[in-house]
């Protein structure tokens, strides 16, 4: 029994590794600069954001190192978008493979999320470079980023699993998800500081911060950029249990995703 489990696990690891490598190789295939683009792309994007928000719009002038603060939000959100969009089409897109081979189905979804994780890693390196330029102090607190990224990884993967299995049955999901992502982008404090919302409606700000993505982004900003960041924990009174809601959402969605995906996975070959 244990040997069989190991055998199964071994297959998944081999496949996962190869799929991630292939995906990375294919991404910039045929472009002149190749892998350099994985660095150039975020650099160019950051340059644009920097110019627009720091020189023209001048939002968040009261927040120190607003440029880096902004970058974290954008990069973390982009990771979530990439994982969930990859995940959405992962199963249906590989329908041909599903019908011809039996392999652990979840590997395809996980592979998409690892590819995005590589991208996130590259982006974080670029941000670190910006942090040096901006003179953001490096502290031990920074290590908190790791568990927060793990939380983000789990949450994004859970949503990706759900979407990938739902998309097999309901082909409208991709349009709906596009709209949800658009809305989510503005409902999460990415481009603007949450203090803007607090000034208008404290309830709205509190609600927004219950979103796991908002919680993760604000927490990472808190530990990496400036302790002046308003986090989920800081908007609620001491002793309130509400700051636990984002974690609860992560746990519930991960559980639902695993149950639903496991239930549906054996029938993917015939349902697609």
């Amino acid at each position: 029994m244990i040997r069989r489990l190991l055998q199964r696990y071994r297959y998944s690891v081999i496949l996962l590794k190869q799929l991630v490598i292939t995906d990375f190789k294919l991404r910039y295939k045929g472009s002149f600069l190749g892998y350099v683009w994985s660095l150039l792309r975020p650099l160019a994007l950051f340059a644009i954001l920097y110019v627009v928000f720091v020189y023209f719009l001048k939002i968040g002038a009261d927040i120190p190192h607003y440029a880096v603060y902004l970058l974290f939000g954008v990069v973390l959100w982009n990771y979530f978008t990439e994982v969930t969009s990859n995940g959405l089409s992962a199963i249906v897109g590989k329908g041909d493979l599903m019908r011809k081979l039996s392999f652990p189905r979840y590997v395809i979804v996980v592979a998409g999320s690892f590819s995005a994780l590589i991208n996130l890693g590259i982006n974080l390196v670029v941000i670190a470079f910006f942090m040096v330029i901006n003179g953001v102090p490096f502290t031990w607190e920074l290590l908190w980023v790791i568990p927060l990224i793990i939380e983000l990884f789990i949450f994004s993967l859970a949503i990706a699993f759900l979407l990938s299995a739902l998309y097999v049955k309901f082909r409208d999901i991709n349009y709906i998800w596009e709209v949800v992502l658009q809305g989510g982008f503005y409902a999460t404090p990415i481009l603007y500081p949450i203090s803007l919302v607090i000034n208008m409606s404290e309830v709205a700000a509190k609600l927004m911060l219950l979103n796991p993505l908002a919680q993760i982004i604000q927490d990472i900003r808190f530990v990496a950029v400036t302790p002046a960041t308003i986090t989920t924990a800081s908007v609620f009174k001491d002793g309130s249990l509400l700051p636990l809601v984002p974690y609860l959402i992560v746990i519930v969605s991960a559980t639902v995703a695993v149950i639903y995906f496991r239930k549906k996975a054996p029938n993917f070959a015939e349902d697609i």
Binding site: I14, K100, L101, S102, D172
Partner: protein, 404 residues
């Protein structure tokens, strides 16, 4: 025998496919029509209560007509589909060979595709490394391995896919679908060589086919699936004969003639074509084909001929009166002409088709060309896996040698 261990055990496997009458595949339909009674669907029974065992080292055939459920069964054995009822157990590593080159990506190089395809079959980079040179040698593609797959000819792609599968799949159990046996003659030969090698090495192989000659030649045992049920299990030869018989018994005469494969300027047209028998056995020494044609407009010394092809479309034999140096008379409008061919019965088991034609004297214009004008079936007592089975006599002379 040491090969009595069971490699694959199929126990009471049933498979239903649910065919919804109105497929709910958009979220909209849930909202638009929330009270519509869902679950209004029909189950299609693809397999009903199938049980059999495959022993280690056996070359096992799954035989059945299109739509009988044999491919579904193979997919269940491969783990692609889940059985609705029943279960199956597989001992050892199973490599499904349902299709070659699954997951090949045209944007990757030949080398990268080898590793990707290998990983899909569950082989690590290390394992592929060890066999990489052998794969390239077998495919005869050494110079091309660093080129993108999209620049390969289709023949090269098949060669690469086949060698990856062949060299890597050194597994305990192999599943082979008949799609494998397509390709040019050279490639088919390679396939069959490979089958022979598998058989020699005592691999467990599950082979799905409706080529009875291949089943007879390679399989030890087989099962016959018909109408979603297992109707016979036993020696390959017995199954192949039963399959052929089933085909002949159920062949409907109405379907034997094809009208759309007919063309010509209709200066003379066939009125009828008759066979001495539509079911040939060894008792029939000859097959008579009688064709009757009517002339619509005067035609000088037309040429009338026929050819016979087997179910695989291979033209086996044929002739015409010009080759036989027997001229037909000049014919006037309204004349009838009847020609009878007496063909020795050298046919191998299975369905055969007769093509007939009338053409102008110089062969320049076709008056009437009728493909598959009539069909007949053969079921011989003495059958071979070759395209024809002529009566061959065997003499054995044995002489006792001197003791050493």
């Amino acid at each position: 025998m040491a090969e009595n261990k069971i490699a694959i055990s199929v126990n009471n496997v049933s498979k239903d496919f649910v065919l919804p009458h109105e497929k709910v595949d958009s979220v909209k339909s849930i909202f638009v029509n929330p009270f519509y009674k869902r679950g209004h669907s029909e189950a299609q029974h693809a397999l009903k209560d199938i049980s059999f065992d495959i022993h280690e080292g056996e070359f096992f055939g799954i035989v059945g007509r299109n739509g009988s459920g044999k491919s579904t069964l193979l997919k269940i054995i491969a783990g692609i589909y889940q059985p609705t009822k029943g279960n199956l157990s597989v001992r050892g590593r199973l490599v499904p060979f349902i299709e070659l080159g699954v997951g090949f990506n045209p944007e990757l190089t030949g080398r990268e595709n080898v590793y990707l395809n290998g990983s899909l079959m569950g082989f690590s980079t290390k394992e592929v490394n060890a066999k990489y040179d052998a794969i390239v040698d077998f495919a005869e593609l050494k110079r091309f391995m660093d080129q993108k797959l999209k620049n390969y000819s289709s023949g090269m792609q098949v060669r690469l896919a086949f060698s990856v599968a062949t060299i890597l799949a050194d597994s305990d159990v192999l599943l082979i679908d008949e799609v494998l046996a397509v390709g040019d003659a050279d490639f088919q030969r390679k396939c069959f060589d490979y089958f022979r090698k598998l058989k020699k090495n005592k691999k467990t192989v599950v082979f799905v086919s409706h080529d009875m000659n291949a089943v007879r030649e390679y399989c030890d045992r087989a099962v016959l699936i018909e109408g979603s049920e297992l109707i016979l299990e036993g020696k390959a030869d017995k199954i192949a004969t039963a399959y052929t018989k089933m085909f002949i018994e159920q062949a409907e005469d109405a379907k034997d003639t094809k009208q759309d494969g007919r063309w010509g300027d209709e200066r003379a047209v066939f009125e009828s074509v008759k066979l001495s028998s539509k079911k040939l056995t060894n008792a029939d020494k000859t097959l008579s084909i009688t064709t009757t044609a009517v002339v619509n407009e005067d035609i000088e010394n037309p040429i009338l001929g026929f050819s016979i092809k087997n179910a695989g479309g291979m033209q086996l034999m044929g002739t015409n009166n010009k080759i036989k140096k027997q001229n037909l008379p000049n014919m006037k409008k309204g004349d009838h002409i009847s020609v009878t061919w007496k063909v020795p019965n050298v046919f191998t088991d299975g369905k055969h088709y007769v093509d007939i034609a009338i053409v102008y004297r110089d062969g320049s214009t076709i008056a009437d060309w009728w493909e598959e004008s009539v069909a007949f079936n053969t079921l011989q007592e003495e059958n071979t896996p070759y395209v024809v089975t002529p009566p061959i006599e065997l003499e054995i002379h044995s002489k006792r040698g001197r003791a050493q």
